[in-house]
Amino acid sequence: MTSQNDTWISLKKNYITQVEKALSGISHPKKKDVLADVTSHLDQRYAELAEDQKTHQALEEIITEMGPASDYAELLEPEAKQRKKILPLLVACSLLVAALLIIAANVSNHPKYGAKLRELFNRNFTANPFFSISNFEKIEPGMTETQVRDLIGYPMIRRQIAHNPNASPEQIAIRKDEIHWDYTEPAFNGADYYQSCRVTLSKNTGTVLRTSLHRSSYANGSTTNPAYALFPLKVGSLEVKTFDNKTLQLTSTDSQISIVIIGGRNSISDMKPEWLDKYHQQAQTLLDSVQARDISVYYIKRDMRERIVGSRDFDFDYVIYKKGNIYSLPTLYASLDEQVNDSYQQDRRWLIKRLMKE
């Protein structure tokens, strides 16, 4: 037993020394924490072995399962590896493309999103409550963003070719000043496809350049993120729990608009005051911007998300409730692109104003 213990101490020391050496080339502030965590992990693995399991082979296996020491520096400071080891660009790109192709082979045919889309569309979900194919067909080059919104509402997602990993440098050069506003509409009852409708706008002028429409199979529904295609959701009257454990009644006969903020936690004690302040401030800024100070704002527990948006998978933090309907409030999180983010801000103002009129 003592012999195995000595073996373990030696194996562990040797591994930690290797990790320490691997980390010596970087200056990350948490290097010591990593070493302490790895040591603690190894101690726990050893402690979990019964005495008769502490064979030399089992001990070596624990070390092997930790992975090579060289991984630590690369994972702690990925940039360091790039600086140190310049891979030929072509090889790196080939690896990435091949990686993505294999992932796609496994993921893109997964029925998950297709099934979700079909289920949602069967429940009469559309991209947004204001979209229609007939109005989409009225979009013409030269129209402004506001005119597009007034005709077909806000898009379920905005995309730029510069963010498309498959776009060639030539495509990016030609289309770098374009933003796609993508909408989705079910084709018709019983069809096994839905329609993807795209409005392409110029980033520079904010006006429409062209539109396009194509059919997408539900089976390959991963081409669309269904999380952006859900609303309005008819939920009727709702009874939900707020953060401070009060029961909130949202009544379908009441024409009052309510903003419902779905928290990332279930208890007010788990919410940091600054998070609540931030949510409140964002909601207030939004309401101020549309001069709608009498709209109520409620904070709902995370567990209530499924009841409100129909699925736990869809991660909305802001929704609007009016007359038994839930409307998505385009994300308040800043997009990677300032201009796109500004468009989302306008979507939010537009939606509230529109609902106030109805």
Binding site: K30, V34, A47, G67, D71, A104, S108, G264
Partner: protein, 112 residues
């Protein structure tokens, strides 16, 4: 092409999003995270890999760690997603879906 090397690099590259998604459901300590992720065959997690990533995500402000007492040993470091982490994760998940869908488009030949 060394397929094993490629698979290893790919898995390592995806660990950030995997860990953040795991923490989006619950707070967790490192050892428990390893245990849960090892049950997922496709990830083929190397146990030590998780710690440098957790350290980096902490430095980036996406997660926080707090020591909490443990019934069966010394206090454990529990990790939790910050609000910034939640938001970053949403963006990462969206980006991931966009990549997958873009490849699906190429695979189907729709981009000709």
């Amino acid at each position: 092409m060394n397929l094993n090397n490629w698979q290893t690099q790919l898995r390592k590259g995806l660990l950030d999003i995997v860990i953040l998604n795991l923490l989006s459901h619950d707070t967790c300590h490192g050892y428990e995270m390893v245990r849960r992720l090892k049950q997922i065959d496709g990830l083929k997690l190397r146990e030590g890999n998780i710690y440098p990533i957790l350290a980096r995500l902490q430095t980036d402000g996406l997660i926080t760690a707090a020591l909490k007492p443990s019934k069966d040993g010394p206090p454990r470091k529990y990790y939790e997603l910050t609000e910034t982490g939640h938001k970053a994760l949403q963006e990462m998940n969206l980006h991931w879906e966009m990549i997958v869908s873009s490849i699906a488009t190429v695979r189907k030949g729709d981009n000709k």
